[in-house]
Amino acid sequence: MFEICLPVILGGKCIPSTALFGQLLIGLINGSFYALLSLGLAVIFGMLNIINFSHGAQYMMGAFAAYLLLQFSGMNYWVALIVAPILVGVTGVLIERLLLQWLYKLDHLYGLLLTFGLALIIEGVARHYFGSAGLPYTVPESLQGGRNLGFMFLPNYRAWVIVASATVCFATWFVIERTRLGAYLRAATENPALVRAFGINVPRMITLTYGFGVALAAFAGVMAAPIYNVSPQMGSELIIVVFAVVVIGGMGSILGAILTGFGLGVVEGLTKVFFPEASNTVIFVIMAIVLLVRPAGLFGRRA
């Protein structure tokens, strides 16, 4: 066993290499939440050109839906994992049909303001009915406990989080980048009129895409419910970081959002070991540097 140290100029703190493996793994797990959320944002921005500021609120809705399903209809975690994203996704479809569709021709700012306003309303309503302290939600029985990996204790639930989110991320990437449906989607953002001329219902496709992006946020919310506090402000605390992740990855880049999400989780995890006070700021420092060096983001194409 050897020790790994920071340069003296950064504090010179040392930790055993085994502990570092643990921290890297933890970082990767937290990164999977960033990846899931930034993926949804990237899909929505890429296809609709809407900066979806209500994404955090929709993540919160996912967690609340899981709680309510359990309380009032006895649906367990596994059912909620399917049902909650569908329910929240349907609200997304309604939002797109009733509100967002009128904004595509206008400046980005209008979509941003509308979704930001929606986020405030959703949060306020949740706070009014459920209070700000939070709601209880426990880890499903089949995933309780954990295993000792030698260098760390890995809770089973965290192992599940990383597997599930990596699978969902990969599937989404695959559908959009490698299938015919994805090709239609990408074509529709490039030139909607032409795609429509081929007999494809572009507005419906756009609506479903928004619904899907929102469902992804809700899925992340259900995943978060057993380990994070389920409270109305849970989304707004996370969403700013996720926006930074999307900006670093490159707005609208699917692969960029996924890789940056996982990568920044690791960076943040390491900061928590060596300089915990800065762990909330480190992502924004990286964002500032990336914007200076590559304004379109790490994986983004120049518009």
Partner: protein
């Protein structure tokens, strides 16, 4: 002629009587976090508690007319200061109460002192409010960081938890709580093995918990509050911290936090509070009234709400006793001179440094099987008598005391 004189005399006597019971106008402002993190431990619940206090006082003192207003400081000291200035200068508020968030409370305390008004703190925790930053216009009512550290910290060390690792929220409150707890731990023969300062509103504590786990400390002290405490405890359960033999010390845990965690996760947690809704009949009766006033049958009042009620009652008693003068320093002095007595905190007193004195209680969160009805959260493990619950007057470095 005699008859007329008699009538005049009678009128004079009656007039005199009316003059004695002259109307006293009081204006109170509840300054709290109405819409965020602390809205459940203070917020609208504090307004409901204030209304109950005013209604109860009016039963025996119909000549005191109280107007109540409330405001949202959004946990920002600048917003809180602006509201306090406006209330004192423009709206002629005599007294501000509650104010969770130590940063905001310290700012408002200075303003109350400059403008010679009165500030009763129920929601904020920093013990500096009656220590180095004390003044003659501030009373700290319900609890403080020293009392929390002394209650939970001492109990943990005494029962064998003599090595500690701290997870501390990186701002004024967290630092104060950490400092106060370290002092208690070391004084009782314990040792601090390490600490991590985490930013306020951290979502994931697993990295910090791994560090705490590898420190092999017997106790992990949580010098944080609200969502941070909930996330730490929830994730500590997930990482098998308690099963692995380490214990958690929640240094500031409210009933609403226990509710958010669920008893399955929170069971066995030791915590210190000065008031618990289910402790006796008086508290339970008051809780019913509070729930009706708040229009929230499923919610339970916290010690902060109880403190708002008790503080306003005592304040109004002092105002009535003084015949209505709103002078901040004079009323504060009168409040310190009069013994306190109310249905929720019983008999107590206010010290020269502005510290309200009453007993504190060490609670333990019940097992889910032992909890018989909603809100049945705690067993009482120990009572800390009033004279031991708070920092001794001589140790606070309050300028009002030394000079």
């Amino acid at each position: 002629m005699k008859k007329v004189l008699g009538m005049a005399a009678l009128a004079a006597v009656l007039g005199c009587g009316v003059a004695n019971a002259q109307q006293i106008d009081v204006k109170i402002g509840v300054l709290s976090d109405m819409s965020s993190l602390y809205a459940d431990i203070g917020g609208p619940g504090s307004v409901a508690a204030a209304k109950l206090a005013i209604a109860d006082f009016a039963k025996t003192n119909p000549n005191v007319k109280v107007e109540l207003i409330s405001g949202d400081h959004q946990n920002k000291p600048d917003v809180g200061s602006q509201i306090a200035n406006q209330w004192f200068d423009v709206d002629k508020v005599d007294m501000i109460i509650d104010t969770p968030n130590s940063g905001v409370a310290l700012a408002v305390s200075q303003i109350a002192s400059q403008k010679n008004k009165l500030f009763i703190v129920s929601g904020a925790a920093a013990s500096t409010l009656t220590g180095e930053k004390c003044n003659a216009n501030t009373i700290h009512w319900t609890y403080d960081t020293w009392m929390l550290a002394n209650g939970t910290g001492k109990a943990m060390v005494k029962t064998g938890g003599d090595t500690w690792f701290f997870l501390t929220a990186d701002y004024a409150f967290g630092h104060a709580l950490e400092t106060d707890t370290i002092a208690v731990v070391e004084k009782n023969g314990g040792k601090v093995l390490g600490k991590v300062r985490h930013p306020l509103n951290t979502n994931d504590f697993s990295s910090f918990l791994l560090q705490a786990q590898s420190s092999k400390a017997k106790v992990i002290g949580l010098a944080n509050a609200g969502g941070d405490t909930i996330n730490s405890i929830k994730q500590a359960a997930e990482f098998g911290i308690v099963k692995g033999g380490q214990s958690l010390a929640g240094l500031l845990v409210f009933a609403s936090d226990v509710n958010a965690l669920g008893l399955a996760t929170a069971q066995g947690l030791a915590l210190t509070e000065t008031w618990y809704w289910d402790q006796n009949d008086a508290n339970r009766a008051w809780t019913k009234r509070w729930q009706a006033e708040r229009n929230a049958p499923g919610k339970f009042p916290t010690m902060i709400h109880a403190g708002v009620y008790s503080g306003i009652l005592h304040y109004l008693k002092a105002r009535a006793a003084m015949g209505g003068s709103p002078d901040g320093k004079a009323v504060t002095a009168k409040m310190k001179e009069m013994p306190t007595d109310d249905p929720l905190f019983g008999k107590g007193s206010i010290r020269a440094d502005g510290r309200k004195i009453h007993p504190a209680y060490l609670y333990e969160v019940k097992k889910p099987a032992d909890s018989k009805y909603p809100g049945d959260f705690y067993n009482v493990r120990a009572t800390i008598p009033a004279n031991e619950a708070f920092r001794p007057l001589s140790e606070g470095k309050c300028p009002l005391v030394s000079g």
